[in-house]
Structures are given as structure tokens and as C-alpha cells.
């Protein structure tokens, strides 16, 4: 049996990409992109729409295959890290069909899938409902951490926008992944949800996890993110939030949008 979080030499870089090129069909989004994300950091990817922030995340998830370039996670092969359940992903709101017939608890429990598969044995072959109670307990614990314990049995579609994000964050937390990739976790959420999500991401980093999030709110990275990467087809600026805010115009997103005509 294979342990989920097996001990390994601590790599300095959680994500390391060299010469990455990627896109959709004939549309090129990333070209000759080098990227480094330090292990244990909280990194924000910012940039205009269509700049390749989500595309970068999708390369790490494996949902998109790069046209060129190499990518490693914690110093090893990405595919291996994926199979070991070391990477968790939280999609944008629009990417999900919220009418899907699952309760909040069902959604969070899907985060236990890597652990169930790693455990192996005949039971791993059976449906989620007959897995050991510990998996459900863990899901309920994560729901408690994001403040949704009382809504566990609601249909996922009945939640507010912020609550849905918290449920997806609970799914990532219960997976116990070392690398969390979050696509716009703070977009369109209410104040309470934003506070909860920010606190939990800071706690996750404190627990040694690496957090990578896409955001449009550059000002919101101050005093929160360790590093900000400004993306425009590649990494055009990298540094602390103050450094990146300094090298970019006062309202960088709007300015960048004006430049790209987007």
C-alpha cells in the first residue's frame, strides 16, 4: 500500500516551467514562458483577461498539454505528483454545472478520491457511499473549517456564490494536497466568504502547503500573497506585491486591458 503523502526530499520549487508554449486550437496563449513558484509560498497570478493565467494552471493540472516546454512539480514529474494526489484544483465559477445532482457533502467527499485510490484494495473499487466512514468524517470536518457544516446536505446548486467557493475549497483541503491551484477563488464572493477563504489560504501556507491563485484584484494581494506574478503570454514581472505594484501603472489591469484592446 502506498502512503498518500510519502516523505521525499524537499524541493525548493513547487512548480518549475521552462519554455512553455500552449493554447487552444490555433490560438496561442502562452509563448516561451518560464515560471518558478517556490514551495510553501502563497503566489498570486495576475494579468489581463486572456493573458494565460488559467492556461498556466491547466498545464499543471494536466487538463491541457503544453505545445512545447517542460514542467516539473516538487522537482519531479508532474504526472507522478498528480497520481499521488499532491495537486488540488479549484475551478472558476463558470466552469461548473451547478445543477449537477450532488449535495455539498458529496462534492467535498470527492476530494477523498486520491486517498481512496492510494489505499487500494477491493474497497477502492466500490462507490463512494460504501467507503469507510472516515472519508465522510474528513469531508464533514473540512466543511466545518469553511463554515458550511450546517449546509452539508443541501444541493450544491442551492448555495450562494461565496458558499460554493468555500465548498470547493473544502474539497481541496480534504484532499491534503501539497500544491493547491485556485482559479479566481475570490471573484464574486461576499465579504464573509472572502474573509474565510483568505484565512484558510494563509493557514494552508502556514501548514507548509503551496498555494497558487489566479486573481484580478492586485490590490488585494498586499499583505496577503508572498509573491505576485504578472502574466501576459509569459511572466512579465515577478516579486512581492509591493514590487509588482510599483513597476506597473496605478491600475495595471485596466491599463493592460487598454493596451491589448481586450
Amino acid at each position: 500500500m502506498r502512503a498518500l503523502a510519502r516523505p521525499r526530499t524537499e524541493a525548493a520549487m513547487a512548480v518549475e516551467g521552462r519554455g512553455l508554449a500552449a493554447g487552444y486550437g490555433s490560438l496561442s496563449v502562452l509563448a516561451d514562458c518560464d515560471i518558478e513558484i517556490a514551495a510553501g509560498s502563497l503566489t498570486a497570478l495576475v494579468g489581463p483577461n486572456g493573458a494565460g493565467k488559467s492556461t498556466l494552471l491547466k498545464l499543471v493540472t494536466g487538463a491541457l498539454v503544453p505545445w512545447r516546454g517542460t514542467l516539473s512539480v516538487f522537482g519531479g514529474a508532474v504526472a507522478q505528483a498528480r497520481r499521488a494526489g499532491e495537486i488540488a484544483y479549484m475551478p472558476q465559477h463558470e466552469a461548473i454545472d451547478w445543477d449537477y445532482p450532488l449535495t455539498v457533502r458529496d462534492v467535498v467527499r470527492l476530494g477523498r478520491l486520491p486517498a481512496i485510490r492510494a489505499r487500494g484494495g477491493w474497497r477502492a473499487w466500490l462507490p463512494m457511499s460504501v467507503q469507510p466512514g472516515a472519508d465522510t468524517e474528513a469531508a464533514l470536518g473540512a466543511l466545518d473549517a469553511v463554515g458550511l457544516a450546517g449546509l452539508a446536505h443541501r444541493p450544491i446548486g442551492a448555495l450562494s456564490g461565496g458558499q460554493k467557493k468555500r465548498a470547493l475549497l473544502a474539497r481541496a483541503l480534504v484532499q491534503g494536497a501539497r500544491l493547491m491551484l485556485l482559479d479566481e477563488p475570490l471573484a464574486g464572493v461576499d465579504r464573509d466568504s472572502e474573509a474565510v477563504i483568505r484565512r484558510l489560504l494563509i493557514e494552508a501556507r502556514a501548514a507548509g502547503r503551496t498555494v497558487v491563485m489566479v486573481t484580478h484584484d492586485l490590490d488585494g494581494t498586499r499583505g496577503f500573497a508572498d509573491r505576485v506574478l504578472l502574466i501576459r503570454g509569459r511572466v512579465v514581472a515577478a516579486g512581492t506585491p509591493e514590487e509588482v505594484l510599483g513597476v506597473t501603472p496605478p491600475d495595471p489591469v485596466a491599463a493592460a486591458l487598454a493596451r491589448t484592446g481586450g
Binding site: 499543471v60 479549484m90 445532482p101 450532488l102 481512496i116
Partner: protein, 312 residues
Amino acid sequence: MAELAALMAQGAQGGRAVIDALIALLMLPVALLPGDGAAMFQYGFMRRALLSSVMVGGVCGLLSSFVVLKRWSLLGDTISHAVLPGVAVAYLLNLPFVIGAFVSGALASLAVGFIERTTRVKEDAAMGILLSGGFALGLVIIGQIASATHLTHILFGNVLGVGYDSLLTTLIAAIVAIAFVARFVKELTLYTFDPVQAATIGLDTGTLHYALMLVLTLTIVVSLDTVGIVLVVAMLVTPGATAYLLCDRLGPMMAVSTGVGVASAVLGLVLSYRLDAASGGTMVLVATAFFLLALILAPERGLIARMRRHAG
């Protein structure tokens, strides 16, 4: 060779015994029917038709949850129509029609993906082309080699003529489909709900996608005897859509859609016998009636509940 033939004959014998046992099992509830309800099942052909209806309605209903959630309605229709040239070629080569049908159905589903990935033509146009092109090819070939009755049976089903071989094939396909869903239901759930997270935890989403497509093709092929090419898609969409209106969780949704599939097929068979109507058509009409009932009466999403909410 002689040994192999003997072995196959033995297998066929065993298969026949299994089918007979299943039919005997089905006759237990039938015997409890009030009045002359059981009378029609004194005929062997009706007993075989009943078993075929239960298996086809059940497996189609089970898979229809995923067809609805994955938005594969048109894909199901494409596969079922594209099966026709395979049936024709199998007939020409004197092969079991299941093999020809499976191969051409699977080729069509792969071709849809290929056209979508490699050209600018979108999925729905690719499916429209393969659906009509494949069906037309089948019609032309069959027009040259077989009788009109034969064609009618393929297009609209012939549940009253279902034989032991066909029942055995359907049983095997049903076991494959149920085993596949039971083994991969959690993976399929994540893949259909959030495909990117599914890839992120290292699930082979491509294989999962095509495996589901092949299981769907297999189900369509073995359903042809019962409901026919033209109407099989209804059995793959309507039960799932009905359950979708009634359920908030996937497990219950799959149970309800399986139940609606079985009930539609069995009630349709009985009604078609009583009314002397086309069996495939009657089954689909019963399924459609279930959907309409759910549409109107569903506790939360039904029309009446919605009107009440707006009024209150």
C-alpha cells in the same frame, strides 16, 4: 476445432439455462398480477420479450443519467443511427449483427471526436453529418440485400421476435455496463462534474471518456432488437431527464432513471400487446408520459410547484 465447437455448444446450453432461470424469476411477480394480467405471459415469445424489456430498459435507464449529465443526447442518437451500415455489412458477411453494429457505432463516436479536435467544425455539426451519413449508407446497402420487413425490424425493433442468442448477448452487455458503472461511478462523477480536477488527481480522463462511450455503444447495439435504431435514444435520454427533475443526488437519480427505464419498457410491452400497437413506439411513449408527469408534478422543479411558489 471439434473441441472448441463442443465447448461453444456447451456455453450456449449454459447460457440458455441462465436465460430460462431469469425468465422463471420474472414469472414470480407476473403470477401475482390480478385478473388476466398474467395471461399474455403464457406464450414463450412474450416471456422472452419481457426479459428483454427489463434488461434493456434497466441498462438504458442506468446509463441515461450520465447521458443527460454529460449532454450526450445527440451523441447517443448519432451512434444508434451510425450502427445501421455495420448491421448491413455483418448481414452480408454472415457475422452476428452485434459485432458489425458495435464496430460501426464505435467508429462513428470516434470520428465525432476526431473531426471536432482536428477541424474547425463543431461537435454538433460533426454528429449531424455522421448520424445522417452513416444512416444513409446503411439504408442503401440494406435496400440492395434485404427485405423491407427486415429493415423495419432493425429500424423499429421486434421485441416479440427476440430469441435466446439475442437475450444472452443483452445479458452479457448488461453485466458489462453495470460492472463498469459500479466500478467507476465515483471517477465518472468527478469527471462529469469537474473534468479539470479529475485530470489534476491523475485520472486518465481520455480513457474514461472513451470507455463510457464504448459502454454506451454496446448498450445501444443490444437494445436494437427491443426498441430499434430510430427510438433507442429516447430510452437513453428520457429516463435520465425524468430522474433529473426529481432528484438532488446522483445515486437516487441513477436508481430512479433505472426504474423509469424498466417501467417504461415493461408497461410499453404490455400496452402494445393489449392495443396491438408497435412495441418500441409504445415503450417510448410511456417513457415520455413519465417525463411529462415529472415535469408537471415534481415536488420542487415541477410546473405546479413553480406556479405555487410564484403565487405564494
